[in-house]
């Protein structure tokens, strides 16, 4: 095997494939990256039995072949090489990497022991990389991080024809993002539960692709697997088992009051006021008339308060939130105006974003936030 490729191309490709390298491989070969060269194409791939990654880049092939080398070493090396063409070749049981005047010799791993990557399911539909990355990012913040509740560490993906819905919850907040996409067949309905961290990483890495195709295995064929592809990069991941909570019933149908606040001003105020909120004590928000007053700290402890202009339509209300959960939501709506809709101080608040105060509210993105109850 021998090929020559530009340093940046190699570094990007290796970085993509190395994302899924297991930190503690169950088999020594799983710490490796497979380099496969044929027909002017270099294919890099990795797999840890959960997630697989694969990337194809053009290169000058001198000699086709396959080799398996330590993925961590290869990615460290590729990142540090000078910006010059890189030549990679196999000599006996070693891989030689030369670039400019530097050269590296790496031992190979037994490529015949490397597991077969799962086949990519047929594509179900397409979406732009930026929309995909934004939408996944907005939802992933609400996913649970607690491995003892595995179902909640996933992002629920629902396909209903041309509509795609992403949802995640850690039981304290729920983020739901809906948007249109381009299904490749009509009348497609499907759903899947995807590990949130993997999906978030994948979406971020594919953000620059014009088109990302989503491939959900149809029932009966390679079930339990979802694939994503964009710009010659592919990844598959195993789906999570378990029943995602019936989140639609959690979304309130009515509101007793609606408040509009400038997002950036509110976020700044929450950050300031919560300086005195000891770990996990809430920040209290009193919405009344034309302002919202934020308070944190109780009793003899340090206290803080700040008033922020707001348009409050409906009943006055005092409600308390975990400041971090509130800040996550304010960041995720990614809009100048934050729109809160409340029913009661002990019921979830719905946070959505508006472009300006007169804009029509939309349900494209909803962040449901459960309040904190102050027991007396």
């Amino acid at each position: 095997m021998k090929f020559r490729v530009e340093r940046d191309v190699l570094a990007d490709a290796v970085a993509w494939a190395a994302r899924t390298l297991p930190s503690r491989p169950s088999l020594p070969v799983l710490a490796g990256l497979v380099l496969n060269v044929s027909d002017e194409v270099l294919t890099l791939s990795s797999f840890d039995y959960e997630v697989s990654a694969r990337v194809e880049v053009a290169c000058d092939v001198e000699d086709p072949g396959v080799a398996l080398v330590s993925g961590r070493l290869l990615s460290d090396i590729a990142r540090s090489l000078p910006a010059q063409p890189v030549t990679v070749s196999v000599e006996g049981t070693r891989v030689i990497i030369t670039c400019g005047r530097s050269s590296f010799t790496l031992p190979t791993l037994p490529v015949e022991d490397y597991p077969q990557l799962p086949a990519m399911p047929p594509a179900s539909g397409e979406i732009t990389g930026t929309l995909f990355a934004t939408a996944v990012g907005q939802v992933a913040i609400a996913a649970g991080r607690d491995d003892t509740l595995p179902t909640l560490t996933g992002i629920r993906l629902e396909i209903e024809g041309t509509r795609l819905v992403l949802a995640a919850t850690d039981r304290y907040r729920l983020a739901v993002r809906e948007f249109d996409w381009n299904p490749l067949s009509t009348g497609l309905t499907a759903h899947a539960l995807i590990p949130a961290r993997t999906l978030a990483d994948t979406a971020k890495a594919l953000a620059s692709s014009d088109v990302v195709s989503i491939a959900l295995a149809p029932p009966g064929a390679g079930e339990g697997l979802i694939g994503f592809e964009g710009n010659g990069r592919r990844t598959t991941t195993r789906l999570l088992d378990g029943e995602f909570p019936k989140y639609r019933t959690l979304l309130p149908n009515e509101a007793a009051s609606i408040a509009l606040v400038e997002t950036a001003m509110l976020a700044e105020a929450v950050k300031r006021v919560s300086l005195v909120a000891e770990r996990n004590t809430p920040v209290r928000l009193s919405f009344d008339g034309s302002e919202v007053v934020l308070r944190a700290g109780v009793g003899d402890d340090a206290q803080a308060n700040e008033a922020v202009e707001a348009t409050v339509d409906g009943d006055a209300l005092e409600i308390a939130f975990n400041p971090n959960y509130l800040l996550d939501g304010l960041a995720a709506i990614d809009s100048p105006i934050a729109r809160f809709s409340f029913t009661q101080a002990t019921r979830p608040a719905v946070l959505t974003g508006l472009a300006d105060v007169s804009a029509t509210p939309s349900d494209e993105y909803r962040y449901l936030l459960m309040p904190v109850r102050l027991t007396g």
Partner: protein
């Protein structure tokens, strides 16, 4: 008692219930008075939690395996513990202490330091107050206690130990040296087996020996802090004040099985039972905690703990159980043989004013309200009147033992 006439300046009391758990049990079993009685886990692997003085005379002491205690005192009656009853008596005793002085520092369920400097004018001399407490404890709770009266905490504690059972000992300030110096070094606060050995090597056997050794010598042998500390104590100097309201740092319960268990389902049932106990204790003491810790000891005695911090404080049995069970399942054990499991809640704070992060989709009146109702039923009809369904079908103490 040779000591104890002039009680001027003796404003620290140490009050300690006599054989606390056993005494509480004897209230409902008066026929056992004067006989050896042991309170402890009934199974083959339980340990002695408390024993009457008759049993102690046969060599039985706390923390000894029940099996060993049985051999030492074959005639002893062994009673399984009823922690709810002990907690109730403890609450009664502590509130009695608080009626004497606000400066009460509980050390455990059954002992406390009291600073009575402010009560002298109202209630009389330290000796009179000590006697008042003793008679009121017996009147109200039908158990006896011993009281040490001195000018420092550490001497007061020694004095109560020396007056046991059912006694009072006053150590006037000017007789502290006389009282302390003949005592063995082990009597000093902070001297355990290891320090005792080190002191023995230096030829120091009594408190008086320590007192007459230069501080520098002690510090060389035991380290700066310990050397200085012991020297101070040996002269009866102890500047610690009675600090009331030292809150409990954690609440927990654990269980050693009669036989090792390798069945995850059986472990779940035990976790539920422990969560039930811990939850009830949290609620009865009006506390909430944020961190749940699971402890697992395997057959080979290796012990692991795993903990999880919740987004907000909890006191609900169901939450405790779900969390502990999640931690246990996450260990991914394949029929490992388990000897002990325990659940502990840390990061305690008063339930009053605590903020609770609500959960999406949970009914507003939920488990917590149901469990508070169960608590009050149990308070009235006994701890076994209402139990989680999966604990009912198992005969108490017998479950899953083979």
């Amino acid at each position: 008692m040779g000591l104890g006439v002039d009680d001027g300046g003796c404003t620290i009391l140490h009050v300690d219930m006599d054989a606390f758990y056993a005494s509480v049990e004897l209230r409902s079993r008066p026929e056992l008075h004067g006989t050896p009685v042991i309170v402890g886990g009934a199974g083959g692997r339980g340990v002695v939690l408390s024993a009457t003085y008759e049993a102690r005379a046969m060599g039985v002491h706390s923390a000894m395996p029940i099996s060993r205690a049985r051999r030492l005192a074959p005639d002893a009656v062994i009673i399984p513990p009823d922690h709810r009853a002990y907690a109730e008596v403890s609450r009664g005793v502590m509130s009695l202490f608080h009626s004497v002085t606000p400066l009460v520092e509980p050390l455990s369920l059954d002992e406390a330091f009291l600073d009575i400097a402010g009560a002298l004018r109202r209630l009389g001399s330290p000796t009179a107050i000590g006697e008042l407490i003793r008679s009121r404890v017996f009147d109200e709770q039908r158990i006896t206690c011993s009281v040490g009266v001195a000018s420092t905490k550490f001497v007061a504690k020694l004095a109560s130990t020396r007056s046991k059972p059912d006694g009072i000992l006053v150590v006037p300030a000017e007789q502290v040296i006389e009282f302390l110096h003949p005592l063995p070094v082990g009597a000093l606060w902070g001297v355990g087996e290891k320090t005792e050995e080190q002191l023995e090597r230096l030829g120091l056997r009594t408190v008086g020996d320590i007192a007459s050794t230069p501080v520098a010598t002690l510090q060389r042998a035991l380290g700066q802090a310990t050397g200085r500390h012991l020297h101070e104590l040996s002269w009866g100097r102890d500047s610690r004040r009675v600090s009331p309201g030292e809150p409990e740092k954690s609440i927990g319960a654990e269980e050693t099985f009669d036989d090792d268990i390798d069945d995850a389902i059986a472990i779940h049932a035990h976790l539920l039972k422990l969560a039930d106990q811990v939850g009830a204790r949290l609620r009865s003491t009006e506390q909430v905690g944020r961190t749940v810790q699971l402890k697992v000891r395997f057959a080979d005695f290796t012990t692991i703990t795993r903990s999880k911090t919740m987004p907000g404080p909890i006191d609900v049995t169901q939450d405790l159980y779900d969390t502990a069970r999640g931690l246990f399942d996450a260990l991914g054990l394949q029929r490992a043989r388990i000897r002990l499991v325990g659940i502990r809640v840390e990061g305690l704070q008063p339930a009053q004013g605590a903020a609770r992060q609500l959960t999406l989709g949970a009914p507003e009146q939920g488990r917590r309200e149901a469990e508070i109702a169960v608590d009050s039923i149990r308070a009235r009809f006994g701890s076994t009147s209402v139990r989680p369904a999966r604990l009912v079908e198992l005969p108490p103490g017998e479950e899953y033992s083979r």
